[in-house]
């Protein structure tokens, strides 16, 4: 254990090695370690966020499902109501139509009856006039007695 100049040489080597580590070894590795720590922290945060999002989505989908069911039930109810209404309306329309047809037919019948009566009256009056003519062949002036004939026609 003698002391000699090795001490100073070792001192210089010591600082050169420390300088080298400080310059070329330490910074890149520490940087990588910090980066990795940040990556892991980010990953964990993302996972947490994903979990939260999933929870929200589940809640939203349940909500949507419930809403959809409600809406469908409402639609069905409305449709049923509407169908009943349509049937009711159709019934009314059909009845009205039927009434109208019946009324039409009645009117036509009446008209027909009136016309037939008129015709009949015409024919009867003609027949009567003809009969009367035959009876009173010479005496009767159709023009002069037209009003009488009309009155008779009326009464028939």
């Amino acid at each position: 254990m003698n002391l000699n100049a090795t001490l100073f040489a070792q001192l210089v080597v010591f600082f050169i090695l420390a300088w080298f580590t400080m310059q070329f070894v330490w910074p890149p590795i520490v940087k990588a370690l910090d980066e990795r720590a940040k990556k892991i922290a980010d990953g964990l945060a993302a996972a947490e966020r994903g979990k939260h999002d999933l929870e929200l989505a589940t809640k939203r989908s349940t909500e949507a499902l419930r809403e959809g069911k409600e809406k469908a039930a409402e639609l069905i109810a409305n449709a049923e109501k509407r169908a009943a209404q349509v049937i009711e309306e159709a019934k009314l329309t059909a009845k009205a139509e039927a009434d109208r047809i019946v009324a039409g037919a009645k009117a036509e019948i009446d008209q027909e009856a009136v016309r037939a009566k008129e015709q009949l009256r015409e024919q009867v009056s003609t027949l009567v006039v003809a009969g009367a003519e035959k009876i009173l062949r010479r005496e009767i002036n159709a023009q002069a007695h037209a009003d009488i004939l009309a009155t008779i026609k009326q009464d028939l």
């Binding site: 003698n2 100049a5 090795t6 001490l7 040489a9 070792q10 001192l11 400080m22 940087k31």
Partner: protein, 294 residues
């Protein structure tokens, strides 16, 4: 010194006789230095230990090269095994640094410094795991000198460990001045720990000087002592195996070598890692103290 004399005389006889236990250990504890022979004086700054320099620089370069390779291809995605391993060490050092040095600005230098210290000392200490005579014998074969010195554990050289602890001291002084300002630091030198009173100034200053000296010396000595002692125990164990023979004592020595060698090597794994960790932690603590105003 006396040992060198013994060594040189032993050198002549080496071809015929194996070295004695004392010779073996002294030889293994002598550095290959710039003079080519063992250092004569306890302190001689004209000498430099080549083996310590070569192996410590080699360990530093290997350690940093591996980490640099990882740092170059580092990804913030899924890491490979090598990257994960480096990340574990770096994260460990960074966590300790965050707990002790509270200034993020200082940590930009102190963090890498602590990481370098940990990796470097760990690798230097790990040189102890190589078979004791492996590299020295290879070296002796290469040089052709059967008495060439070579010590392969740079942290078992006081110069190596004190060099690092003095480096830590310089960093501490730098941060003392940077954080507190030169005036503030000088003020602290004279007023802490006992308080601000003219009579207490010299005592405070003396305490501070002793503190700096004690910190630095104990910092370097602790690592050195552990590794030196560890190396020495490996040498003693190696001597057991070296003394084996066909007799009952010889065989039991051989078995003892295997047993003790295994136990000590396994225990040494703990010491290698622990001492590297302790040196790193003390580096952080001392630098952290430099940030605190008394």
């Amino acid at each position: 010194m006396e040992e060198t004399l013994i060594m040189s005389t032993a050198g002549h006889e080496a071809a015929a006789n194996a070295p004695t236990a004392g010779e073996y250990i002294v030889h293994h504890l002598t550095h290959w230095n710039s003079t080519g022979h063992a250092q004569k004086n306890v302190i001689d700054f004209s000498v430099i230990n080549l083996d310590t320099m070569i192996f410590s620089v080699l360990m530093g370069v290997i350690g940093l090269f591996v980490m640099w390779r990882v740092a170059k291809s580092v990804t913030s995605g899924v890491p490979g095994r090598m990257q994960a391993a480096v990340e574990i060490v770096l994260e460990m050092v960074n966590d300790q640094a965050k707990g002790i040095v509270h200034s993020a600005e200082s940590r930009k230098f102190v963090g890498p410094l602590a990481l370098t210290v940990f990796i470097w000392i760990f690798l230097m200490n790990s040189m102890d795991f190589l078979p004791l005579d492996l590299l020295p014998s290879i070296w002796q074969t290469i040089t052709g000198d059967h008495h060439a010195y070579l010590r392969v554990v740079p942290s078992a050289d006081l110069n190596g460990t004190l060099g690092m602890s003095v480096g830590v001291l310089l960093v501490c002084l730098y941060y003392n001045v940077k954080i507190k300002g030169f005036g503030g630091w000088v003020h602290e030198l004279f007023t802490a720990p006992f308080g601000s009173h003219p009579l207490l100034y010299p005592i405070n200053f003396a305490m501070q000087m002793i503190e700096f000296l004690a910190k630095t010396v104990s910092h370097g000595m602790r690592l050195f002592g552990n590794m030196y002692a560890g190396e020495l125990v490996f040498m003693l164990i190696a001597l057991m195996g070296a003394a084996w023979s066909a007799s009952a004592t010889g065989v039991s020595l051989f078995v003892g070598h295997i047993l003790a060698g295994s136990i000590w090597a396994i225990f040494h794994i703990l010491i290698v890692a622990l001492q590297a960790f302790i040196f790193m932690m003390l580096t952080l603590v001392y630098v952290g103290q430099a940030h605190e105003a008394h």
